[in-house]
């Protein structure tokens, strides 16, 4: 219940993030990450693209066939009574039926685990491009509140991964909701909030153990109310025009910094320029190696951010919290900028006043890379339901939206927004075996994720509560869920079913 201040705090914090834009690769861009290993004693400290490398290794897996299942591929029309083979961490075969010869061929005599998917649905793993799990973990105590470096309106120098607590109990709950990948962002207090990190929903001792190997970084930027509210009495910005001046001032510095470093990296002569962590991140955006993920509610502000991106020659990959994105769907489509939105959040502040539930559907129909996002550790567990709401709203507004299209809003489109659409986000041969087996139509309120695989390994199985991932924090503190009501969803007898 909302009597306590908690919900408000979550909302205000949550709505702070912004996603980056994909830089247009302005030239053969020397990554400012000239190297990926430590410089070593006595060597020059030059920018390093990957100083905190992923140590993620896929969990043990067995070849697995899921058959007789309805497959929403996110890559085309659904396959009824289809079958997939997960092998060596990849989707090895997507077949029209369990009898398909290519299945047997791919198994090569080995006997896989076979799961009967009769009456069930298979989708790609859900991807949330806007999460604060780990940086605003549960319990939401001050001691663990690490999502906003609210000491300066421009902190492109901070990296979300340095705040991520891998023992956040919100991670296993997201996994149980069918989420396999999430982009963790800094909050939205700042014009430049810092770097994002893309993680898999897997148990690990360190954030490095969760990091999606090879994923691009994002730069979180934020428009509107949050920065001016946070800094209005602390030296500014205190207005939207102050916000814009703040963005431009940083990009001017970043452009100069990029020029100096690119020259030095090319010539390798003389003293290298002084390093600046924040400008390194911005320079990487200018080179097209880091995606701008831009928290921005209002249509008019999004248009201004687009002009700023033109002025400095970078590209915004996606606007997040774009509650007014539907008003400029044509502009977003023309610019090739994605829109990550909620299904129905609105009016919790002035810039969220014009939220409409048909937002996603309107964006999709206009040709925008449209996607759901959560910004919320509760909502992330039910992104399929959020998509269902948005689909229903689109249909109510007279837009023809199919389930085959809507499933993309939580899979391939968010994969595109974080630059991983070649690896995840659809059920196609060769992609990572990140899939979810649903108890029924994922757009029904009664449906659960029954099983979730990441890289072919079964990470969540609702039928086996004893094997449920429990974080360190939960041990002792959070009582075990006895397999009571939750293990056996009651049959719906209501309505017209």
């Amino acid at each position: 219940m909302r009597i306590a201040a908690l919900a408000l705090a979550v909302t205000v914090l949550g709505c702070a993030s912004a996603k980056g834009a994909q830089a247009p690769a302005p030239s053969p861009a020397p990554s400012d990450s000239g190297q990926t290993t430590a410089a070593g004693p006595g060597a020059l400290s030059v920018p390093n693209a990957n100083p905190f490398p992923s140590t993620y290794k896929p969990f043990p897996s067995q070849p697995t066939v899921i058959e007789n299942v309805t497959i929403l591929t996110a890559a085309g029309p659904r396959i009824e009574n289809g079958a997939v083979l997960l092998k060596d961490g990849k989707i090895a075969v997507v077949a029209k039926s369990a009898d398909a010869p290519e299945l047997k061929q791919a198994m090569n005599g080995a006997s896989p685990v076979v799961i009967d998917g009769k009456g069930k649905y298979l989708t790609p793993g859900i991807i949330d491009v806007h999460s604060h799990m780990g940086v605003y973990p549960a319990p939401g105590v001050d001691a663990n509140s690490d999502g906003n470096e609210a000491t300066n309106p421009a902190t492109p120098n901070v990296w979300a991964e340095h705040s991520v607590w891998p023992q956040d109990p919100q991670f296993p709950r997201a996994l149980a909701g069918g989420v396999t990948t999430a982009q963790i962002l800094p909050g939205s207090a700042n014009l430049f909030g810092g770097r994002s990190v893309v993680v898999k929903m897997v148990p690990a001792r360190t954030v490095q153990g969760m990091k999606f190997p090879g994923a691009k970084y994002g730069l979180k930027m934020a428009c509107g109310e949050n920065p001016k509210r946070v800094y209005g009495n602390r030296g500014g910005p205190s207005t939207r025009m102050g916000n814009v001046a703040g963005y431009r001032a940083q990009w001017i510095k970043a452009e100069e910094y990029r020029r100096k470093w690119d020259k030095w990296l090319k010539d390798r002569k003389g003293e290298p320029p002084a390093r600046d962590l924040g400008l390194e991140t911005l320079a990487e955006v200018l080179r097209g190696n880091i995606y701008v993920q831009n928290h921005c509610y209002r249509a008019d502000e999004m248009a201004q951010m687009i002009d700023i991106s033109h002025e400095f020659g970078f590209k915004i990959r996606a606007f997040h919290h774009g509650v007014e994105a539907y008003k400029i769907a044509d502009l977003l489509a023309k610019e090739g900028i994605g829109a990550a939105v909620w299904a129905d959040w609105g009016a919790f502040k002035m810039e969220a006043l014009d939220a409409v539930r048909a937002n996603l559907a309107l964006l999709d129909k206009a040709g925008v890379h449209a996607m759901i996002h959560s910004d919320d550790a509760s909502g992330v567990q039910r992104l399929n339901q959020e998509v269902a709401k948005a689909m229903a709203a689109g249909r109510a507004a007279g837009l023809d939206i199919s389930e085959d299209e809507a499933v993309k809003w939580m899979t391939i489109n968010p994969a595109w927004a974080i630059g991983l659409d070649d690896k995840i986000g659809s059920i196609e041969t060769g992609k990572n075996a990140d899939v979810v087996l649903w108890s029924g139509d994922p757009f029904s309120v009664y449906t659960h994720a029954d099983k979730v695989w990441i890289d072919g390994a079964l990470l969540f199985d609702r039928s086996d509560p004893r094997e449920r991932w429990r974080t360190d924090f939960e041990l002792g503190f959070v009582p075990d869920e006895t397999p009571a009501a939750s293990a056996v969803p009651a049959q719906s007898t209501g309505g017209n079913k």
Binding site: M1, L6, A7, A388, A392, A484, N496
Partner: protein, 428 residues
């Protein structure tokens, strides 16, 4: 029940929106869920003078009745959201239009009548009603005792028209020390006991109080007056408590003072379900809250509502999972709480009851709303299918017998921007 009786009853109910009351409407052919009784296939709901005149399979339909064919559809009572700020808040944050929080120095605001700030023209009312919610409880927030809640019908009318019962409850919380202006739970509960002691004393010493001969009391006369019906068990005390031990403390307090208690939140209520059931205390609980957001809700789990029902506790559903503004903009989403409750083990019929009759019973208005029975106010919704499913939409919504024709602000925005660029009303 005669028409004469109905008319008398209507007069007795000052809040009736009377204009369209003369109409007779027959909803036929649908699957009717009266909630107070078993479902009726191919049932008829007859509405007359703003009230339900008859429900069943064998209802004689007057010749002049307007007929609505609900074949293949579902007919339910209008849904009730028992925990909202609807009509109190125009913008959650930074909009200077928030009437839900009294903000006292003491954290004690028993005399705060939340409905004094109720805006019958709130743009969110239409959007909520469009989704089949016809009643809600308007709940103040903040402090230890936040103030008084009202049970309202979402009629198109004045504030007085809307009020079904005010006060419907005194609202407080024992979940958060800081909000309650306390340093520790013991201090918080001590303040609450002092308030209850003072209210009891005041109730039998009004004359002394007037002559300034009473003992020293902790709050003002207005606050004491507001607390008297609470300590006399006439107005329920709606207390937010999440932790099992806090719920235990609330049960003890209620027993000691003879208070009619409603627990709200109740994240760990499942742990003490048997005690709650034995005390016959109802619980307002969400169906999506499974995150240990604080040390008071470490045991939050999604099948809480189902476990409570199983133990025999009366349960009404609220939106409290956090994030999506379930109190105002998304007060309309209460039907999805019900759907998720079913997904986590509650029976479908119990879930429907938990968003209709159960909250009506808790707040003492079950003789007016929450079920489809002759004599009840005609808050009726016809649904295209299962009301808990996302794909389902209400096809007709009646509030006190009046068919609503809502076009919400969100509908207007959607229409304006469906084709880009928008014309802004100017001809090409």
């Amino acid at each position: 029940m005669t028409a004469r009786y109905l008319a008398a009853a209507a007069l007795a109910c000052s809040a009736l929106a009377s204009a369209a009351g003369a109409q007779t409407i027959a909803i036929t052919g649908g699957k009717v869920y009266p909630v107070s009784g078993p479902p009726i296939e191919n049932g008829t709901v007859l509405i007359r003078d703003g009230r339900i005149a008859a429900v069943g399979t064998n209802v004689s339909i007057p010749a002049d009745a307007q007929r609505i064919d609900a074949t293949g559809k579902v007919v339910t009572p209008g849904l009730v959201n028992p925990s909202t700020e609807l009509g109190l808040v125009a913008v959650g944050f930074g909009g200077d239009a928030n009437e839900s929080n009294a903000r006292t120095d003491s954290g004690l605001a028993p005399s705060f009548k939340s409905w004094d700030g109720l805006d019958p023209r709130s743009v969110y009312i239409a959007a909520t009603r469009e989704d089949g919610i016809t009643s809600n409880v308007t709940v103040p927030v903040g402090g230890l005792i936040a103030g008084q809640a009202a049970f309202i019908d979402l009629v198109n009318g004045t504030r007085e028209d809307m009020l079904l019962k005010a006060p419907a409850a005194m609202v407080g919380q024992i979940n958060d020390n800081q909000s309650a202006h306390a340093g520790a739970r013991g201090q918080l509960l001590g303040t609450l006991r002092s308030l209850l002691d003072d209210a009891k004393y005041y109730a039998s010493h009004r004359a002394e109080f007037d002559r300034a001969q009473s003992r020293r009391l902790s709050v003002s006369r207005a606050d004491l007056e507001a607390m008297v019906p609470v300590v006399q068990g006439r107005v329920p005390l709606l207390l937010e408590a999440e932790k099992a031990s806090d719920i235990g403390a609330a049960l003890d307090l209620a027993k000691q003072y003879g208070i009619k208690l409603i627990i709200a939140g109740g994240a760990e209520a499942w742990m003490v379900a048997d005690r709650i059931a034995a005390a016959k205390v109802p619980v307002l609980v969400g169906a999506m809250n499974n995150i240990p957001y604080s040390f008071t809700m470490l045991g939050a789990r999604q099948d809480n509502a189902a476990l409570l029902r199983r133990a025999g506790v009366q349960v009404a559903l609220i939106g409290n999972a956090g994030g999506g503004d379930e109190e105002m903009f998304n007060a309309r989403n209460i039907r999805y709480e019900a759907g998720n409750a079913v997904g986590y083990g509650m029976s479908w019929d119990d879930a429907l009851r938990a968003v209709t009759l159960a909250p009506a019973e808790m707040f003492g208005v079950a003789d007016r709303v929450g079920s489809l029975q002759a004599g009840r106010e005609a808050n009726v919704v016809v649904w295209s299918g299962d009301p808990f499913e996302f794909a389902t939409r209400p096809t007709q919504v009646f509030v006190r017998g009046v068919l609503q024709h809502d076009v919400s602000r969100q509908d207007l925005l959607t229409q304006r921007y469906k084709t880009l660029p928008p014309s802004y009303g100017k001809k090409e």
